[in-house]
Symmetry: C2
Subunit: 213 residues, 2 copies
Amino acid sequence: MLDDELEALSAIGRRKLFPGGQVVTWSGDPNTLCANVVSGALKVTASTEDGREQIVGLLYQGDFAGQPFVEEAPLTITALTDTDLCLFPRPAFERTLGAYPRLERLLLQRTMRSLDDARQRMLSLGRKNAQERIAGFLLDVIERTVPRGAPMPLSIELPIGRGEMADFLGLTIETVSRQLTRLKSDGVIAFEKGDRSCTIVNRAALEAIAYPL
Amino acid sequence: MLDDELEALSAIGRRKLFPGGQVVTWSGDPNTLCANVVSGALKVTASTEDGREQIVGLLYQGDFAGQPFVEEAPLTITALTDTDLCLFPRPAFERTLGAYPRLERLLLQRTMRSLDDARQRMLSLGRKNAQERIAGFLLDVIERTVPRGAPMPLSIELPIGRGEMADFLGLTIETVSRQLTRLKSDGVIAFEKGDRSCTIVNRAALEAIAYPL
DNA sequence: CGTTTAGTTGAACCTTATCAAGCCCTGTGG
DNA sequence: CCACAGGGCTTGATAAGGTTCAACTAAACG
């Protein structure tokens, strides 16, 4: 981002801290905000009326949240951990986009990447079994957090708990738990000091599971 | 779209007819093209290496196809019926976007709508059962093709066959077929003159199935 | 400590996939 | 004109993968 763009954004943005668990935007509410994630993590969820929930996206440091040019927020956004957001009132943000074409270009590219992402997840949700989804998820976490070509046994910190993994992968808590213990007893992964810190013992095996044939 | 934008686009576009079944873009190939759908219909698919397929989007008249600013095409696009496309070489299309900010804005808005769409489908694929998916699909077709507030018994033409419905909904052909016959015997829909032309007998019932509670 | 919360494990059940036949329509060639 | 082959769809029987319900464990917290 260029200096004047950053400046223009910071002129309309205000920082706000959201404690873990707090909802930033409710689905159906008037869409008043866009934001940049300064630190922390958020989940973007879609729900059925009867309470079933699907996590349709996870947002981390540097990610963009919200939808300009839309009157009603279609999705609920919730802080997973304590999260620092830089909030932009939507109308001001839209004006800034108009004034800085490079910014709009950037947003377009990000939106298209999100779309690609969403489509890969549709493949996963529609056509993969529980093992493949879990393995794919672990590989995604690796890609997101581990520097390229780090030496094996890798250690990763799962960004979400079992329940949220289930909501992300379209499974139940129990299935997620069982598949993880299966990967563990197969010697592919291991857990130490807690259910969230996971060691990748055999990455190749994980890839073979996630991407068969 | 404004006159000069249309002109700029038509200057770089060339029309081409694709017969039904023909692939327009292969996933993994160099991404050389974007296009507008002049007439006909296309499917956008993601696949696993071992051949499972998920339809991640359907494109109709007026829809935009392709991904500017990406070097490798991530998805396969196939003509469902004979389809007339207006093709743009990607580099020229990107230059045109830069020259006509309103055009880029338009594309951004479309991309965001596609993203919303994709996320709703994630909810469907991850959290809804076969009946709900089928009912939701039928309602989507209605929304797309029937004028608002048309009188009941509605008649719609299914844009795709059973196999493609299955690939779209993350089900099998057999399950799609069974759920449709179930809706038929429940008196919610009916079929005349062929498997593709479907009469909506009871739209409210369909909505109650698609959106429980 | 007792309570709560997250995770694991087990057993029964259910939805959907899988495999296999059969049907209907269309187009083709004898 | 009829037999027949092929594609798209339906239907049935069976099986598997996941869900559900329930009990249990372990760590966290007052």
